[in-house]
Symmetry: D2
Subunit: 136 residues, 4 copies
Amino acid sequence: MQPYLHTVQYYETDQMHITHHSNYIRWMEEARVAFLDGLGWGYDRLEAMGLISPVTAVHANYYRPSRFHEVIAITVRLKSYKGVRLVLDYEMRNHETDVLVCSGTSEHCFLDGNGRVLRLTRACPELDAALQALLP
Amino acid sequence: MQPYLHTVQYYETDQMHITHHSNYIRWMEEARVAFLDGLGWGYDRLEAMGLISPVTAVHANYYRPSRFHEVIAITVRLKSYKGVRLVLDYEMRNHETDVLVCSGTSEHCFLDGNGRVLRLTRACPELDAALQALLP
Amino acid sequence: MQPYLHTVQYYETDQMHITHHSNYIRWMEEARVAFLDGLGWGYDRLEAMGLISPVTAVHANYYRPSRFHEVIAITVRLKSYKGVRLVLDYEMRNHETDVLVCSGTSEHCFLDGNGRVLRLTRACPELDAALQALLP
Amino acid sequence: MQPYLHTVQYYETDQMHITHHSNYIRWMEEARVAFLDGLGWGYDRLEAMGLISPVTAVHANYYRPSRFHEVIAITVRLKSYKGVRLVLDYEMRNHETDVLVCSGTSEHCFLDGNGRVLRLTRACPELDAALQALLP
């Protein structure tokens, strides 16, 4: 899958003259949405099925600052998945120089409309199969 | 009513070393929420009654930059209201020096759960009376 | 010039299930940056010349809500300019249906590094000419 | 030290009807600013000394959603510090019920104006002593 591209916006900078660190967490979400779309399992389809997939944890390591107007290429990979907990891995690189600026992970579970945790093997075998197929 | 106080956060600054202009629109919302709470008509009460009050327009004039850690005192006043459209006025001043940094207005209507525009005189006479009482 | 495209992000929605109104002010900035780049007068070039162009006012009128994943096409036009104050006009439409969701304006002045207001005719005749050429 | 209080804003909610997860990273910064102020080492004092303290990593675990208008009490503790790398710990609880909604950590280094990593024992013994005194 092609990396997701995000251009750093002026409103994402802070007075240190770099991207504010909280925005990388938002870019991870942008890239995740595109990743699930690419799989054929966009948020719309999940929500139409009554599936909600909240974030249960995030990590980010900041290696280099990024700056206004820089294009960041974000690669998403499935790190682990066993039916209940999904962990995704992110690499964010300067699109021109390929320098790593940030890496991260996000963890997710799946809930039904009443907030109960679902096991996808039972609740949605097709999505389960699509995720299993991506395991390293 | 006491002005609403907002302290400028680091993540609200941009690389010009001042508050990014979009944040004042958010502070107007913070002050509006406190203003309606003070009236006894908080968002929770409105939403519990099935009333939604979206923003239909905003204006802001920026007079002076504000900076990280500055405390901004925001005064909200009812500018006009005739049963359907509500216009609020905002003054944002440096809390210490009283210097005006920004002024603004926001316009609102009232909708029911199906998105139909409501006339408060009929749909919620109590809120209508509370707003009428504030007219200059 | 082609309209600037912005896809509504999940983190831009609010609990009304629509785009939070403050984000349109940020999209106007995104489109303005692309507009100035297209003119050959990107922020980088301005800042390299010691020119700062802060926002002195914004207006927005909200016609229709927009939602997660919607693509918004933003058209920027020069509304007025006489050497000191620049006013830009924005139209934001659903890219697929062409329905107008929001219109807005932003006003700007030009400052030097010491915060003094500049008249572009003198301070930067090339940018002045580029802007004059766009006047309706 | 008293916990830092943050009231969830409307613009911090998303269409899942809860606080968007990226905002907790921003609240950690709000609480950290207050924590350093309380120590007598506010950002202003650091920046006046030419010291910059960027975030090099963040973690967050989300236990319970928080909602609009909820007051979150944030406790900051020094987790580790050995002269170069500072790790802070955060607990975010519903202020009324004391239920844990989120925990997190942030990691920081100290840089001079040229972006070189500093050892505080040498570069700023007073701040070093203030931090050493907080070690568990």
